[in-house]
């Protein structure tokens, strides 16, 4: 079973974070929430592995896996 990666894994995290903020720039809270929800689903599909996704959900709930 694959494990969720919880060590740094993005080459340039600052670029990613800036892109994420830019996606939210100038839209209201409702649209921002919806954007985040869609982003979660898109990323989940990319990951694909249910076991990893359960670990990700637990990490987001700040439960140590």
């Amino acid at each position: 079973m694959a494990d969720l990666i919880l060590t740094p894994n993005i080459d340039n995290a600052d670029d990613f974070y800036a892109d994420l903020l830019a996606a939210h720039d100038g839209i209201d809270k409702v649209d921002s929430d919806a954007l985040n929800a869609r982003l979660v689903l898109v990323l989940a599909n990319h990951i694909g592995d249910n076991a990893v996704l359960v670990q990700a959900i637990n990490a987001a709930r700040l439960k140590m896996t």
Binding site: I5, L6, T7, P8, N9, I10, A13, D14, F16, Y17, A18, L20, L21, H24, D25, K29, S32, D33, N36, A59, A60, L62, M64
Partner: protein, 536 residues
């Protein structure tokens, strides 16, 4: 208040230029005697270029101001002959802690790798840096170097001409006119020179105020950078605590936009805030208090004919990341050897265009990185804050989120990727020493690499042959022959060879890599020297 601020360091004296029948022409005039202007004067004087510094003041700057000086700045200061004094007085640090709300979320070490002569950072008040640079300038003068400094010489008008600049200078004894082949304006973010030449300086204003307080206290906090997001003692805002020499501590408190600055600066308002942060029982005295706002902006070009801009006069960044004074010293480092070659007729004037493009690249990197830090520290929207707080919450539990926490990305030398002075990379070597990079230091027994690369073109050979001296169109390149065996720590191999068995590097006088190959090939290196001096 410390008396270092009171004593004139370069008092006004009448100069013969004031009594000359026709304006005296100097090689280079530097306007401004802050860290950048003084460094420029020292760098030129060391290369035997005649230089005159004009400053409207006659003392060091008031208050601590810039306090974080990077490894690259210390390497440059070594080349300028005063690195050791900065190091002796400064507080070394490479660790930091990040707090969120009422708890520590993680700590970091800026320099996990070893084998550098200089530490990742020192903290040192700007007035000490200026004092040490001034001492160095006086020492050069005593040795007969062609450098002068004139206090209370305020430039009132600047005229730019095809092959010189003409300045009208006001002094306590009236005005005079003086000329220079080249002008370097190091007169700060509000540069009067820039204004007199009518050059725009537009950018992004950040709607926030920060209170800086320098306090003197006997405290046992370690010499680390402590940064708080949304702490109980400054709700909804940020805070920073950092140690300086002489038991002075820098405290930086974010205040928000809608505040009464004069009111917030009064000791009766500052002291209760600090007591909440430090604890009621801690005894302290206020040394200096200031409130600042900032902008991120740069000039479109750092050069207008014979007038060249360096430091804050050319570019301004947010203070998060210590990218102000440190980048100004990198400007000087980049500029002075080029100006020397041009003045001596060993390189075309167009070499100076590479100062513009390389340092604009540096300024844009600094503006981008410090703007991102500011956006993280001061979220612009509800969602930015939600994401920011999510990163902080995750960072407490999971290592992956820590690189996303941004309390300031600390100043590093710019790598001039794509510069017209670089030759194509011809070594399968480490990325950190690719053409355009500032050379990383390496221990060589009891010695270090960087002092051996100072101030001239060098051909660094590692387990490779090459001639001892190479002359190409007025430029002399000397060889420095090393072997991986010279460094038992293997940092030389790690930083300069990687998997390659040998390497030859052409290194510029500012210790940036111009070209590299696995072995010496005369034609390739002659081309590389021509490129690096703006001739191809």
């Amino acid at each position: 208040m410390n008396k270092i601020f009171e004593v004139p360091l370069y008092a006004y004296e009448r100069s013969p230029d004031q009594d000359a029948a026709t304006p005296v022409r100097h090689k280079v005039i530097v306007i401004g005697a802050g860290p950048v202007g003084l460094a420029a004067a020292i760098d030129l004087a060391q290369q035997d270029v005649e230089v005159l510094v004009l400053d409207d003041n006659d003392k060091v700057s008031f208050g601590s101001r810039a306090i974080c000086f990077s490894q690259r700045t210390l390497d440059i200061a070594d080349r300028l002959g005063c690195g050791q004094r900065l190091l002796d007085k400064g507080v070394r640090w490479d660790r930091g802690k990040v707090f969120f709300d009422d708890r520590q979320v993680y700590d970091f070490n800026l320099q996990p790798d070893e084998g550098f002569a200089n530490p990742a950072f020192i903290n040192l008040q700007q007035y000490y840096v200026e004092t040490f640079l001034m001492d160095r300038l006086r020492a050069l003068q005593a040795e007969g170097a062609p450098v002068q400094i004139r206090g209370r010489n305020k430039v009132e008008a600047v005229g730019t001409h095809e092959d010189h600049v003409r300045l009208e200078v006001e002094t306590p004894e009236g005005p005079y006119t003086v000329e220079a082949d080249w002008l370097i304006a190091c007169d700060g973010a509000n540069s009067p020179t820039r204004r007199m030449l009518g050059i725009d300086f537009d950018g992004r204003v950040f709607e926030d105020n920060f209170l800086i307080a320098d306090v003197i206290m006997e405290a046992d906090f370690p010499s680390e950078r402590w940064f708080w997001f949304d702490p109980p003692f400054n709700r909804g805002q940020s805070a920073l605590l950092h140690k300086q020499p002489d038991n002075v501590w820098r405290i930086d408190l974010q205040l928000g936009w809608d505040i009464d600055k004069e009111r917030e600066k009064r000791p009766e308002n500052v002291i209760p805030r600090l007591k909440e942060m430090l604890g009621e029982e801690v005894e302290f005295q206020l040394e200096w208090v200031s409130i600042y706002t900032f902008q991120c902006r740069r000039m479109e070009s750092f050069r207008q004919g014979r007038a060249i801009f360096a430091g804050d006069s050319a570019h301004q960044v947010s203070p998060f990341g210590a990218r102000g004074a440190n980048s100004g010293l990198q400007d000087v480092d980049n500029l002075c050897w080029k100006l020397k070659l041009v003045l001596d007729g060993d390189a075309p004037e167009s070499l100076l265009d590479s100062y513009d493009s390389e340092r604009i690249q540096g300024a844009d990197e600094n503006i981008r990185k410090s703007s991102r830090s500011t956006d993280f520290i001061t979220p612009k929207s509800d969602m930015s804050r939600v994401l920011r707080d999510a990163v902080l919450d995750l960072s407490e539990h999971f290592e992956f989120a820590r690189p996303m926490v941004n309390s300031g990305r600390l100043s590093e030398p710019c790598t001039y990727d794509g510069s017209s002075l670089n030759s194509a990379d011809a070594l399968d070597g480490p990325a950190q020493t690719r053409p355009g990079s500032a050379c990383p230091d390496v221990p060589l027994g009891g010695d270090f690499l960087l002092p051996k690369l100072a101030g001239q073109f060098t051909l660094l050979t590692i387990d490779a042959d090459a001639p001892e001296i190479l002359q190409e169109d007025g430029i002399e390149v000397r060889r420095l022959a090393l072997s991986v065996k010279d460094d038992m720590t293997l940092a030389l191999k790690r930083r300069y060879l990687g998997d390659a068995p040998s390497a030859v590097y052409l290194i510029r006088p500012d210790q940036h890599v111009a070209a590299r190959r696995d072995t010496y090939e005369e034609n390739a290196f002659r081309h590389a020297i021509r490129r690096a001096s703006g001739k191809e």
